[in-house]
């Protein structure tokens, strides 16, 4: 996958390792400095993984925007009464 002209080869160990840590990296959960440096180096040199990381970043934003559910007024009133009564 490092060569984006190639067919995908999921046995490419550098790309697999990058993917294994990608979500932790994008979610700010990759605290191991060695792994952090390694994935950043890989993303800077592999167009395929860079593209996927960009797509996942955008998808993170869209999930966050789309996932908020409007709380019904009926529930807000119910909770207010419940909290008043406790």
């Amino acid at each position: 996958m490092s060569n984006d002209a190639d067919k995908p080869d999921i046995a490419d160990s550098d790309c697999l390792e990058a993917f294994d840590h990608l979500y932790a990296y994008l979610n700010g959960e990759l605290n191991d400095q060695h792994k952090l440096a390694k994935i950043e180096h890989h993303l800077a040199h592999c167009r395929s993984c860079f593209s996927r990381a960009q797509m996942e970043r955008e998808l993170n934003q869209r999930i966050k925007q789309s996932g908020k559910a409007e709380t019904p007024a009926s529930l807000q009133h119910r909770l207010r009464k419940l909290l008043d009564d406790i």
């Binding site: 984006d4 697999l16 932790a24 593209s51 999930i63 709380t71 529930l75 909290l83």
Partner: protein, 205 residues
């Protein structure tokens, strides 16, 4: 020791600050508005009754999400609306080392071709409802993990506390859940004609 009135005031403030999050998570678990309302109200009642078990006020969010999740499992899961979920062999629970490979090899070849070099416009072409419909079709363990982390912004440690699993399990569920989500969105994009002709050609070549 704070006064009971102080605790009640603090608890009320926390509920009011988190009401939208509690409803959003309950809605994604039950997939039903009425049950989501009942689940939130039951969880708030239960949380107040168990307020003495909250050791660290800074951990209020994982604590109350855990109560809500437990209430869902004990009282709501059986009657929850169950759309056709994305199939996933939960019995194949590989070790950390072959985690990614095992997820990927279950995906269609055409998806892997696209995934190797995805088009950047893809995400923008999806409606919010497309994304949420795909999330709602994720198996429950992956769905709740994606919702807590990617929508509610919990850390892996907080999500692990809320779901009573290890942070390593959260990490694995995130990798698997997001890969399943990606595959589902790709299928949807194919069905809806959202992939560009160039990518369709490349996938078929």
């Amino acid at each position: 020791m704070p006064e009971q009135n102080d605790i009640k005031t603090w608890f009320t403030q926390q509920i009011e600050a988190n009401i939208h999050s509690l409803y959003a998570v309950a809605r994604r678990l039950t997939r039903n508005n009425a049950d989501a309302e009942d689940l939130v109200a039951d969880s708030v009642t239960k949380a107040w009754a168990a307020i003495g078990t909250l050791d660290d006020q800074q951990r209020f969010r994982p604590w109350i999400f855990r109560i809500l999740h437990n209430r869902f499992i004990s009282d709501y899961r059986k009657k929850a609306v169950r759309p056709v979920e994305i199939s996933f062999d939960e019995a194949s629970n590989p070790s950390e080392g072959d985690d990614v490979t095992s997820v990927l090899i279950q995906q269609p070849d055409e998806f892997l071709n696209w995934w190797a070099n995805p088009e950047q416009e893809f995400v923008n072409s999806l409606l919010g409802e497309d994304i949420m419909a795909a999330i709602e079709r994720l198996p429950e363990a992956f769905r709740i993990t994606v919702v807590l982390i990617n929508i509610e912004g919990l850390s892996y440690d907080e999500a692990a506390e809320a779901l009573n699993v290890s942070p390593g399990t959260i990490r694995s569920r995130m990798n698997r859940g997001r890969t399943l989500l990606q595959t589902a969105l790709w299928h949807h994009a194919q069905d809806a004609g959202l992939l560009t002709e160039q990518h369709v050609r490349e996938c078929r070549s």
